[in-house]
């Protein structure tokens, strides 16, 4: 794990500094200053308005406006309401939250304090992916430190606001990153996404109003409150302000994390920041936002990495996990690997998802092995149609999109397998 991104900005500037992980080191860099001021001088509504004006988009995949989501929370009452930090990061191709958790735990806690204050939550849960043992350890230590210093617990920083943070470890399931499955898991139940409505702001964790936010989303908050919405809007695009952590993996010279403004062109990220494709090879396709996002062919890499532009190309920013594939890559084999993941991870509630993910995987595996037919390829598109938008959660869409996009942009690969009855991409990895 790298200690800091190759390119840093406000979120990750001090990540390389081991001291930054401790409360003292964090405060030495101006940490908790925003919280000190805001908790004492700003009303919850003022905090919420600032974040809303900043136009902060959720960084967990769906890109929903954070301030707007917070405004759905009912007015605080006697019964508790909760903030839940989604640290389940399991999307293949995404590894940004891990860095923020391990290297800047107090930044997240400060974000949590501010968000919790804005929505009137009495308690927060940080739900950390089971495999992220180190992150959980670091977070727990930070929580203890903050408690000892009076930054958590009763009367935080003498503001009259009380708040507790509970660190919870998941048990290893991709679906538990979906916010309502996460809530079920948090309650000790099976990680099955809930039917909506009710939405978490109506009935979330333990039947109480809750807001679920991604780690990175919350990490932006202290900076917005510290420096103002206008400052935040000075980077990124009009519709997608701020920076984000792009994670680049695959066939590039310099894989890793890059904190760059939203809207940075994809080809700039790949060729300038990540050093281009190794061995002088060419790009064949790029998944721009984590495994679930539709792949882009080599010809479309000039796109600005923000939802409004990616959507025009039929894809989306997702979690900003960029997976680069060079020209040796067999896209049928890619489809096999991707579909196997979704087959393995579907929670299995919804008929179309449970059966569709398996069916897709069976068919593409057959095509890869050379026994596919032209009808199979048409059928794959129909199966995607039958899954998208037809289920309880967005997992089924996430499973269908990549396959549909691979077929759309790399149909020739599929056709060749059908025609030749064999996979002729020798350089590609084995199934």
């Amino acid at each position: 794990m790298q200690k800091a991104p190759h390119v840093t900005d406000y979120l990750t500037r001090h990540c390389a500094d081991d001291e930054y992980g401790c409360l003292r080191g964090f405060e030495a860099q101006g940490g908790y200053r925003a919280a000190h001021t805001a908790l004492r001088e700003m009303t919850p509504q003022k905090i919420l308005d600032e974040v809303r004006q900043a136009g902060l988009q959720g960084r967990g995949g769906a890109g929903f406006c954070a301030g707007l989501k917070w405004s759905f929370m009912p007015a605080p009452e006697q019964q508790p309401s909760y903030l839940v930090c989604n640290a389940d990061e399991s999307e293949p191709g995404s590894f940004k939250d891990r860095l923020l958790l391990e290297r800047a735990p107090h930044q997240l806690l400060e974000g949590i304090l501010l968000a919790a204050r804005a929505i009137g939550a009495q308690k927060s849960f940080i739900y950390i992916r089971g495999e992220y043992a180190e992150a959980a350890r670091v977070m727990q230590r930070a929580v203890d430190e903050a408690h000892a210093k009076g930054y958590l617990g009763d009367d935080v920083m003498g503001s009259g606001f009380s708040h507790d943070v509970v660190v919870v470890r998941g048990a290893g399931s991709y679906i538990c990153g979906e916010e309502t499955a996460l809530l079920e898991s948090l309650e000790g139940k099976r990680g099955h996404p809930r039917v909506k409505p009710p939405f978490p702001a109506q009935r979330g964790a333990f039947d109480r109003p809750s807001t679920v936010n991604n780690v990175e989303t919350l990490c932006h908050v202290p900076h917005i409150i510290g420096r103002g919405a206008a400052w935040f809007r000075s980077t990124g695009t009009e519709k997608s302000p701020g920076t984000t952590l792009f994670g680049v993996s695959g066939h590039v010279v310099r894989p890793g994390l890059f904190e760059l403004p939203l809207g940075t062109p994809l080809d700039e990220i790949i060729f300038e920041h990540a050093g281009g494709v190794a061995d002088g090879r060419k790009v064949k396709g790029v998944i721009p936002g984590g495994l679930s996002m539709p792949i882009l062919p080599a010809g479309e890499l000039d796109v600005a990495m923000a939802n409004e532009f990616l959507q025009e190309k039929g894809s989306a920013l997702g979690t900003g996990g960029i997976i680069v594939m060079d020209d040796r890559t067999c896209m049928v084999r890619t489809a096999c690997v991707i579909s196997e993941f979704y087959r393995a991870e579907s929670c299995g509630q919804c008929g179309p998802c449970r059966e569709g993910t398996a069916w897709i995987n069976d068919i593409v595996t057959r095509v890869e092995r050379g026994t596919g037919t032209a009808e199979d390829l048409e059928l794959l598109v129909d199966i995607c149609d039958g899954m998208e938008g037809q289920t309880i959660c967005a997992f089924a869409d996430a499973a269908a999109w990549p396959v549909r996009a691979l077929l759309k942009h790399f149909y020739a690969d599929f056709e060749r397998h059908v025609r030749e009855g064999v996979c002729s991409f020798s350089g590609s990895f084995q199934l």
Binding site: V195, C347, G351, P352, G356, W359, L379, D382, Q390, I392
Partner: protein, 547 residues
């Protein structure tokens, strides 16, 4: 009783349009629940569904119930879309038709298609919907999933995992109704299977309801397994006689026998459930100890078979002799809480017209719970009390004191209820006339034994623990020698020449007289009784004697 899906009674009434027809219904619940509440779901409005069930929490996973709603993008699941005023719903649009086809194709992908050997065939929602809404052919070339086909979940239920469509009704039932939670989904994605938690069995008192709930043949009844095909069964409305709840049931008949009981929905009584003991109690109808002929004790003190007519004459002769010799005060009657209101009313009138006040009622008791099972193990104790039968204990005292010389006994509850250890005490009575469905040791002391029809073989009404009067209909044709208790005592009354018994037993007439004579029954007659029953009029006046 309380319902799981809860009907918000005070909810505002709204108007919605479904396929061009307007409906007025409660705002708040889901579209499916609201349509179900007004009784049009799967009648006039056809929205196929698997995971949703009127009495369970909503699940939203099968995705079959999708409909189009004006103003909303994409399709919505009717099982969890709340009803709103002015909603315009389409259930037959092209998008809906396509969505149903797709969902069914998914669910059929791995289905074993073993309908020819499946008990559910003919009453299977997968068959029905695939036929009605599915595409004619499967496009899958992949091998079907192989899973265990016979898992004994408990004493009553067998699971076939290949047939399961994972609607999770069974799981929710166990969690929400008996609250025993034996079942769960294990594994994830296409490895999901229904199973038992380690170390438990599906053996709660209501376990077999999962068989009715299961829309496919994944859960079958061990009792009914391979006994009859669904299309051979004729279903008759009835009421379970197992306890005072009087759960509404279907009696499924084939080959002249009741093959099974199944719960029949009545939201005021049993929702859609019944207990396993009640469900399996159909077996008593054809049990080998059924009484099927009349007997008279001969000179040698041995019971010998006779016609019903001669048995009745003999009984009348005995009773008439006793009355003439010692007066009506030596005659007594014991009523059965298993008999119908009409039987008991006829019996009460017989005793009244003979001129005796000696009567009693013995009700067997057992375990009760908070769901359906009542402590009174008979279907009509409440009716018997309303008609004027009081506890048999004081009558037994009288018998012990030697004050009874002739007695007419309906049933053998006096033994099963534990009032008497055996028949010895009754042996002291000169003339014991026994009218019963099954043999018992009371026959040892009976001078005359008359066989009576079982609940499944007759028409009549029963009054449940909540004072609800419910109707039973004959599911089986009974032998002409087998009469109801009501008709037997009526004939006995005629043979005795008693007042007010017209020739020929006419059930509707008896029912009308009951309504006229016993205040709680005012207005309730067998012919006007709705199929979900009606409440007894007053709550007090329990011992409403014949007017």
């Amino acid at each position: 009783m309380a319902t799981a899906a809860g009907v918000a009674c005070e909810a505002e009434i709204v108007r919605i349009t479904v396929d061009g027809l307007e409906y007025r219904l409660h705002a708040g619940p889901s579209l499916l629940a609201a349509l179900d509440q007004i009784g049009v779901l799967m009648g006039e409005v056809d929205i196929p569904h698997y995971c949703w069930h009127a009495k369970l929490s909503s699940d939203g996973s099968c995705r079959l119930c999708q409909v189009e709603i004006d103003g909303q993008t994409g399709l919505q699941t009717a099982c969890n879309t709340p009803v709103r005023d002015g909603m315009i719903v389409h259930t037959r649009s092209e998008a809906v038709v396509r969505a149903r086809q797709t969902v069914l194709e998914f669910l059929m992908l791995n289905h074993p298609l073993d309908c020819p050997v499946c008990d559910q065939a003919g009453e299977c929602k997968l068959q029905d919907y695939a036929w009605r809404y599915g595409a004619p052919n499967s496009r899958s070339r992949e091998p079907r999933r192989k899973l265990e086909k016979r898992i004994d979940l408990g004493p009553g239920v067998v699971l076939d995992r290949e047939r399961c469509i994972l609607c999770r009704r069974c799981v929710r039932f166990c969690r929400e109704i008996p609250r025993t939670g034996e079942l769960a989904v294990f594994g994830r994605g296409d490895r999901s299977v229904i199973g038992l938690f380690p170390g438990v069995q599906l053996d709660n008192a209501y376990s077999m309801n999962v068989v009715d709930l299961c829309p496919v043949g994944a859960l079958t009844s061990r009792d009914f397994r391979c006994k009859a095909r669904a299309w051979q069964l004729e279903s008759v409305e009835g009421v379970c006689g197992g306890c005072a709840r009087g759960c509404n049931i279907w009696l499924d008949v084939a080959k002249g026998e009741v093959q099974r009981y199944r719960p029949r929905r009545n939201d005021a009584v049993n929702d859609t459930w019944m207990c396993d003991a009640g469900r399996l109690s159909y077996a008593e109808i054809a049990r080998s100890d059924r009484l099927d002929k009349a007997w008279i004790r001969n000179q040698e003190s041995v019971l010998e078979p006779v016609s019903v007519a001669s048995a009745i004459s003999e009984a009348a002769r005995m009773l008439a002799g006793l009355v003439a010799e010692k007066g009506a005060g030596v005659i007594a009657g014991i009523a059965s809480p298993h008999a119908t209101n009409e039987d008991l009313f006829a019996f009460k009138r017989l005793l009244d017209e003979i001129g005796t006040e000696n009567s009693g009622l013995a009700v067997p008791h057992g375990e009760a719970d908070e769901l359906l099972i009542c402590a009174e193990k008979a279907a009509n104790a409440t009716g018997a009390r309303a008609i004027g039968f009081e506890d048999a204990r004081s009558l037994l005292e009288r018998i012990r004191g030697g004050g009874v010389d002739g007695i007419v006994i309906l049933g053998h509850d006096i033994l099963t209820a534990g009032y008497l250890d055996d028949e010895t005490l009754l042996g002291k009575i000169d003339s014991v006339i026994l009218i019963d469905t099954h043999q018992s040791s009371l026959m040892r002391v009976a001078q005359v034994v008359l066989p009576a029809r079982h609940l499944a073989e007759k028409a009549g009404t029963l009054t449940n623990c909540d004072r609800r009067v419910q109707r039973v209909r004959p599911a089986l044709a009974a032998d002409s020698e087998l009469l109801t208790e009501g008709e037997i005592v009526h004939r006995l009354a005629l043979a005795l020449g008693l007042n007010g018994f017209e020739a020929g037993y006419d059930l509707p007439r008896v029912s009308r007289s009951l309504a006229a004579a016993v205040p709680p029954f005012a207005g309730i007659t067998i012919e006007s009784l709705p199929s979900d029953g009606a409440q007894l009029v007053s709550d007090g006046g329990e011992k409403g004697a014949v007017r």
